[in-house]
């Protein structure tokens, strides 16, 4: 039996709707709608996501328009762009990558500072 290939949406493929499930997918085409995938999603150079994105990990070489929530990591590569807020454990933006929005990572501060930070915030 052949090994099951990973997901791939070629440059001409356009999906309008909700994409969900457990899989790794590379997107060189376009998804408009909603993306909720347990796995790695790679948006290639020609790839476009116009959707709120919930994934394990996201690698962006193309364009993502929408808020991103990743349980693990988000990486914006050179030439990649995210228009939206990003919440993830780890976020990286390579030189040449773009992000227009807020980044929200858990930041572990030293106890002394955290206490002061927390009281200031409240």
């Amino acid at each position: 039996m052949q090994r099951s290939p990973v997901g791939y949406l070629g440059a001409s493929i356009v999906v309008r709707g909700a994409v969900s499930g457990i899989a790794d997918v590379r997107v060189d085409g376009k998804i408009e709608g909603d993306v909720a995938v347990e796995g790695l999603v790679e948006v290639g150079g020609t790839g476009v996501l116009v959707a709120p994105v919930r994934v394990e990990s996201l690698v962006v070489e193309g364009h993502v328009r929408g808020d991103v929530i990743a349980t693990d990591s988000v990486a914006v590569r050179n030439g990649g762009c995210i228009d939206g807020n990003v919440h993830a454990r780890r976020v990286s933006i390579d030189d040449g990558g773009e992000l227009h929005g807020r980044v929200d990572m858990d930041v572990e501060l030293p106890d002394s500072i955290r206490r002061r930070h927390d009281t200031e915030a409240s």
Binding site: S4, P5, G10, S12, I13, V15, G21, G29
Partner: protein
């Protein structure tokens, strides 16, 4: 070589899919699929919606109409409910199919047949599969019927046909199994009409 588009097992799309290349469906699509290339719904694939492609191979589940400009093959493992419409349609022994078969006219000169870029669905070409990705190999296997295809189990399928065709009260002798099977497809309409005309004259 161009990478083949794949909706993998485990992935579900609720919505429409469009494109101008080949597509392999191993996951689930609830919505329409319109592809200018070949569309293969693999054994693990489930499509609930109408599909359009240049050529279509159903090896999994398709609930919806299939429309192809070249050919359609409903493979042995397929379960399909819906109409199929193409110049050439084949339903492989073992397939479960419910729907209309519409073989679009190829006699009319106004309908120019698209030159075939792939061999007909029933001929088995023995070309060796290219040593590229798994998806590419799967697509090739589906489109060309490489020998890697799972063998059909005629005994099992024949038994199931008999079971559905015979009512429980009228148990038939083993040789009756053939008679209980579906009759051959109807005659070509043109031939029928000629016969009728002759009788009238």
């Amino acid at each position: 070589m161009k990478r083949v588009s794949v909706i993998p097992a485990g992935l579900r799309i609720a919505g429409d899919v469009e494109g101008s290349e080949d597509l392999l469906v191993l996951g689930a699509v609830e919505g329409g699929v319109r592809i200018a290339g070949s569309l293969v719904v693999e054994e693990s694939g489930v499509v609930h919606g109408d599909v359009e492609a240049r050529s279509l191979v159903v090896r999994g589940v398709l609930v919806g109409d299939g429309d192809a400009s070249e050919w359609i093959r409903v493979d042995a493992q397929a379960r399909m409910v819906g109409d199929v419409r193409a110049p050439r349609v084949s339903i492989v022994e073992g397939a479960r199919f419910r729907g209309r078969v519409i073989m679009t006219s190829t006699e009319s000169p106004s309908v120019a047949r698209v030159p075939r870029s792939v061999p007909p669905p029933t001929t088995s070409s023995r070309s060796t599969p290219p040593s590229s990705s798994d998806a590419e190999a799967m697509l090739r296997a589906a489109l060309h019927e490489e020998p890697s295809l799972a063998p059909i189990e005629p005994s099992a399928s024949a038994a199931s046909v008999t079971a559905t065709a015979t009512s429980p009260g009228t148990a038939r002798a083993p040789h009756g199994a053939h008679a209980a099977r579906r009759p051959p497809p109807p005659l070509v309409p043109a031939v029928r009409r000629q016969k009728v005309r002759r009788r009238d004259a």
